[in-house]
Symmetry: C2
Subunit: 322 residues, 2 copies
């Protein structure tokens, strides 16, 4: 079926924004747009909003008859059931049969997987990992997502939920992660939210130390402002990235000793910090590896734009349908 149709729709539902696009069967994104993920009280309103934006794009490509289907990447998305289950970052609670609901609304076959797995699939089909059979992608955005590829296949585990590396504990008893109630998870440190919290902590615990960050109001203190100050040589701002990289590097070392990937690909907003983040991450990653794993694993930034990887990866689910 997929062979006869020209187009697929890829939808990436992030904690803040939902991005979607029309993709052809050469992996080119022909059109894309976005809506907020968290401004709809019920999922039906979200779908209605998505429909209003997507239908004109679909019509421009000749209507649904030219489309093979819809692929969706979503937090806590389950490829076995097509549902989103208890996603801590989304407003819709419980189990949401999103693939079914969207499939019916658009009248197209629809498949759904974890958002980070979709990004990993995009990376494997079109990005830096094209010929790799063992790699891990880590998305450093509002939260921390992960996609694990072993022997050329996305790891989904016995129930479809594998690869929640952002929720692994790296500082037992550490920082509270508000939406899960867990303490010391990777996501509570190595996300945009985590960097902001580290900034507030460091500014509070070193009240005497001057910092450009003190010119920002608490509301304006973001990972971007920390980056700008670090680039101007601000000491606290640099320490924030050093600390973030340490936590991330220690976590990556643990992941490497699990699946021994050839590469780890970093995506997402935080990667804009470039070497400010990459250097301490690499240092602490290597420091925490057994010698047999040292200086072997490539640590790379994604070559794809984050939105592209996720949309392309989600659309790839369509071409994989029977």
């Amino acid at each position: 079926m997929a062979q006869k149709k020209d187009f697929a729709i890829g939808i990436d539902i992030g904690g803040t924004t939902t991005k979607f696009g029309i993709v052809n069967n050469h992996g080119e994104i022909l059109a894309q747009d976005r809506i907020p993920s968290n401004e709809h009280e019920v999922v039906e309103e979200f779908i209605e909003d998505l429909y209003k934006k997507l239908m004109p794009m679909i019509e421009k490509s000749g209507g649904v008859k030219n489309f093979a289907g819809i692929g969706i990447g979503a937090p806590n998305g389950n490829i076995y059931t097509g549902t989103i289950e208890y996603a801590p970052n989304l407003k819709w609670k419980g189990i949401i049969p999103l693939a079914d609901l969207i499939g019916k609304k658009f009248g197209l076959p629809t498949r759904l997987t974890n958002d980070a797995n979709a990004a990993a699939m995009g990376e494997m089909m079109y990005g830096a990992c094209k010929n790799m059979r063992h790699f891990i992608t880590i998305t450093l955005g509002t939260g921390v997502g992960s996609g694990i590829v072993i022997d050329g296949k996305i790891v989904v585990g016995h129930d479809g939920f594998a690869g929640e590396l952002g929720h692994t504990i790296i500082r037992p008893g550490g920082r509270l992660h508000k939406s899960t109630g867990m303490r010391g998870s990777l996501e509570s440190y190595a996300s945009a939210t985590g960097v902001r919290e580290t900034a507030i902590e460091m500014l509070t615990t070193h009240p005497e130390e001057p910092s450009l960050l003190r010119n920002y109001s608490i509301n304006d203190l973001t990972s971007e402002s920390v980056y700008e100050c670090a680039m101007q040589g601000d000491n606290i701002a640099n320490n924030i990235f050093e600390f973030t990289g340490q936590i991330l590097g220690e976590s990556l070392a643990n992941f490497i000793m699990f699946s021994s990937p050839a590469a780890i690909i970093l995506f997402g907003g935080l990667t804009k910090a470039g070497n400010l983040l990459l250097n301490p991450t690499r240092k602490h990653m290597e420091m925490n590896l057994l010698p047999i794993f040292q200086n072997k694993v490539k640590l790379l930034f994604s070559e794809l734009k984050e939105a592209d990887a996720a949309i392309l990866g989600a659309s790839a689910l369509v071409w994989e349908m029977d």
Copy 2:
């Protein structure tokens, strides 16, 4: 070839003891014996010792002509190369081409893998995980080994070294692991060695608290003596298992959020502690999981004797040879 021969040899090289046996093609161990792993300065002496013990057993089964080959499980064993590489628990340093050396000595095809992976293979072929496609085995012995099965296959990673979960860090900056120099690894707490260290720490930091463990000399303080005292209601001894279970449970939660297995199987000396270890482990495992993973993963003790699982698993490598 394997089809025409009746027997295989399984060899399990542990940190302290090497166990080996003659296995038939129904997975029955017909004869077994053991030698120490760490009393030979060079690997050739170890092989000589092994040869002297194994050859009479081989002769009793009609000689090498009846044997399909030799399978070996060894620490830091690499299935791709047949070598042991920089094993921290063994005397022989550097890269040891053990499969080659043993194959030449016995004149039999020889294959080698990680000891913990061999145990997982034994569990998958003959034990509690017979029909499971996603599980993790953890060996709690002198050290902590692990074998990870995803989609019915042992995870070996891009270089053959995946599944070193005992060396993942669960207490950053924590207890020094002497042979690796790393701090806070799972193995430094949840092994027989780790339990002994915890005992010494707890007895030292609570000098006022009476404990049956104070009747033992430092040399006689082992995980077994801690178990015996705990069974007699000793408070410190019970706290030692509670703490060990906490560390192990937190680590297992992290592993579950990586590969989402249907079960985790615990092997090895420490499992003799039974519920003293299992209960706190299960409690802290569940506490540190995202809700989507809770109350799903079976936590079991192996049904196979540890030596049997490792010998059977190692021998299974032979039946898998071309």
